[in-house]
């Protein structure tokens, strides 16, 4: 039996998504920009998907820009807004220390091109302080980007409050909602954001799909130049069959959320309680804050995450930790570092992210297997320095 507990990394396609995509791959192959029948058929399929994605986040279909993923949506929002606002003289960007690399590294890239970038720290619970944000955002701030839910610890950030601060200062506000969309209700108007990113493959849709919701009136200069697709906001022929899949996934996520969210929260709590009681030297990270229901992050003392991940995988359990670097090895989590955790505690942290396929049996199996693996690794003569 293989148990997948890494749904924040990616999710399998929901079966209806795969079915509709397979059908679209065969039948809906027209170019959505064409005037003829084939183009109209493709355009109709896109529009239907657009409506479903809009509905998931309380937005209008026409404000959805389809992209090839969350990273691209983040780049479009941040680079696009920065370039559009630059002539106004605002030359300052604000973000948080626990953002996904798609946001953090985009901000850093702009910093190398002369933008002033403020990276606001988080508190020990993994929450961005609204007061610190208020201090950071100034009258020359062009854009603020703070993620909705964190990918590693699941904490939900006070987006509505931070967005209000940005608005007061005349700055645009973007949120990366890749890890919250489909897990908790989202209403872009209630949040008061200007732009919001989602990704298909985190909500049982296909990889290579994403969307950026843009409030009407927000101006971007697209970093990708080309044709006039997506109302000139994202050039390139739309990947219609994949976006059909994204639409179906959004629709399913919305339908299932009322029953799935409490189910996953109960499983997550059972997992946390079991691991913490069965493995000595464990601490939960970010658990004091509001969290998405499927995620827990647990530090395990005196053992390295890398060796734990391998041991768990050999036992058929797929989890993750930190972020994989280019070679596939692990680097200490910048999120846990930003929370001020001691280095040792960042090295031995595991992220369990539950999803549709998981059952109590899965959770109990982890609780049964993990203590033995931890003990074996702790008994290694070379751990924590050489013999």
């Amino acid at each position: 039996m293989r148990i997948y507990l890494d749904h924040n990394a990616t999710t399998p396609l929901a079966p209806p998504v795969a079915d509709r995509m397979a059908q679209a791959l065969r039948d809906v192959w027209g170019n959505a920009s064409s005037i003829h029948h084939f183009g109209q058929q493709a355009k109709a399929a896109l529009d239907e998907a657009r409506a479903s994605v809009g509905a998931l986040i309380g937005g209008d279909a026409s404000d959805i820009v389809f992209t090839a993923g969350g990273t691209e949506s983040d780049n479009l929002a941040i680079r696009g807004a920065a370039e559009a606002i630059e002539p106004s003289g605002r030359k300052h960007l604000v973000t948080s220390a626990i953002e996904h690399e798609a946001v953090l590294n985009t901000m850093k890239a702009l910093a190398r091109r002369g933008w002033r970038v403020t990276i606001v720290p988080v508190d020990a619970s993994g929450i961005v302080s609204v007061d610190r944000m208020r201090e950071a955002i100034s009258d020359d701030t062009a854009l603020v980007s703070v993620m909705h839910a964190n990918n590693e610890i699941g904490t939900i950030q006070p987006i509505a409050e931070i967005a209000a601060v940005a608005r007061e200062r005349g700055a645009l506000f973007h949120t990366d909602a890749v890890q919250s969309a489909g897990k908790i209700p989202i209403d872009v108007r209630a949040l008061g954001v200007d732009m919001l990113t989602i990704a298909g493959h985190k909500l049982y849709g296909p990889k290579g799909t994403g969307a950026l919701w843009m409030k009407r009136g927000v101006r971007l200069v697209s970093p990708i130049t080309g044709g006039k697709q997506e109302r000139s906001r994202r050039a390139g022929t739309e990947n219609v069959p994949a976006l059909v899949g994204l639409g179906v996934a959004a629709e399913l996520a919305q339908q299932k959320m009322p029953s799935e969210a409490p189910r996953l929260a109960a499983l997550r709590d059972r997992l946390e309680a079991g691991v913490v009681s069965k493995v000595s030297g464990t601490e939960r990270n970010g658990a004091a804050a509001p969290r998405v229901p499927n995620t827990t992050n647990i530090s395990i003392d005196r053992v390295e995450a890398e060796s734990l991940l391998i041991g768990l995988d050999l036992a058929g359990i797929a989890v993750s930790s930190g972020s994989a670097c280019s070679s596939g090895t692990l680097e200490p989590s910048h999120v846990l570092k930003a929370m001020g955790l001691p280095h040792a505690r960042t090295l031995g942290s595991l992220r369990f992210s539950l999803g549709a396929g998981n059952t109590e049996e899965h959770v109990d199996r982890v609780i049964e297997v993990l203590p033995g693996i931890v003990e074996k690794l702790r008994s290694l003569t070379t751990v924590g320095g050489r013999k």
Binding site: E306, D313, S326, S327, T329, T382
Partner: protein, 351 residues
């Protein structure tokens, strides 16, 4: 799994024999360069290419594959030792340290934690267990590829856990297996240089890691007469002839390196020959040092034809060795490995 032919075939043969094989590659150093703007740039990044090869081979033979990050351990033990030795006027062998301090230490421990019975590598060496339960280490069947020189420090415990599936094969047979098993690395050339110095410029590498290595000094002859100057003892190895910066009627060779006075002593080829040496950190493969002088054939560098000698234990972990005939360029920092025919009896580091 280094991504090379030997470890790839080793893994594939074990899988083919029905063993439950877990592929592991060690990430040992970071070859990416940080550019002036703070971005990581990837140039001729052999590491990532090799990891890619290992991963593809694992996928071809249908085994799981993991990368374990030993960068800090490798830096701390192997690279630091490499630099320190050069700064001290010695000529190190990082491959041996990698075997004894990483592969058959940290990695072997990991393997045990994952309930693996053995750690298999692509080394050209053979292990046999005798009736008394003692493990014996023999040269690889392909003597031209034999790697036992780098494995002299393995103990009985380590040998009991090690497997060398290509040790009884010659290189052409290994490549034939790679082709038969459709491994894409079939034609990959053997690695030649020390892996973490891909351009082969050891001096520059040492200087980058240890700026104090560039302490200038003099080149002198056997009588102490100054013949020239040099830019650091790390640029020299015993027996070296090129790059001395001297003009002389007869070819001159490095005879001795004196790090304290930063002197490099040179002389004629005849002066290079010596018959005796002492060694430290000596390991006896059987676990027991001989009680008296022992006749062996001894090898003093990777490409040296083992020569007749006698060896005896002096203090704990130390030995003295006398060759029957003078050997050229006995080099401190290199290993001396004792053989009885094909069998490794032990070895140590030349003082």
């Amino acid at each position: 799994m280094s991504g090379g032919v030997d470890s790839s075939v080793a893994a594939a043969l074990l899988a083919e024999q029905g063993h439950d094989v877990i592929g592991v590659s060690m990430q040992l150093y970071d070859n990416s360069q940080v550019t002036e703007s703070g971005q990581r740039a990837f140039g001729t990044c052999c590491t990532i290419d090799d990891l890619y090869d290992a991963r593809r081979v694992a996928a071809t033979i249908g085994i799981p594959h993991y990368i374990v990050n030993f960068e800090s351990q490798f830096g701390e033990h192997v690279i630091a030792n490499f630099v320190r030795e050069y700064v001290h006027g010695r000529t190190p062998i990082p491959c041996s340290h990698c075997n004894s301090d990483l592969k058959f230490a940290e990695l072997l421990d990991r393997a045990k934690a994952y309930d693996a019975e053995q750690l298999a590598t692509g080394h050209y060496a053979r292990i046999e267990r005798d009736a008394a339960g003692l493990y014996h280490l023999y040269r690889g069947a392909d003597n031209s590829k034999d790697q036992t020189y780098f494995l002299f420090s393995l103990t009985q415990e380590q040998l009991s856990r090690a497997a060398f599936p290509v040790g009884h094969l010659d290189k052409s047979t290994v490549r034939a297996h790679a082709e038969r098993l459709k491994l894409h690395v079939t034609q990959k050339p053997d690695s030649q240089e020390i892996c973490f110095v891909p351009d082969g410029d050891y001096a520059k590498f040492v200087e980058r890691k240890a700026p104090e290595s560039t302490r200038p000094g003099t080149v002198v002859d056997n009588g102490g007469r100054v013949l020239g100057t040099h830019a650091g003892v790390h640029r020299f190895t015993i027996g070296q002839r090129k790059g001395l910066g001297l003009s002389s009627s007869e070819p001159l060779y490095v005879l001795e390196i004196k790090p304290e006075s930063a002197q490099v002593v040179v002389g004629s080829r005849d002066d290079l020959g010596r018959t005796s040496l002492t060694a430290s950190e000596v390991n006896w493969t059987s676990g027991k040092a001989p009680s008296d002088w022992l006749r062996v054939s001894a090898q003093i560098r990777h490409r040296h034809a083992a020569a007749p000698a006698k060896v005896r234990r002096t203090d704990e972990g130390r030995a003295e060795l006398a060759f029957d005939a003078p050997q050229t360029a006995i080099t401190p920092g290199q290993a001396v490995v004792f053989y009885d025919g094909e069998e490794v009896l032990g070895g140590g580091w030349i003082d």
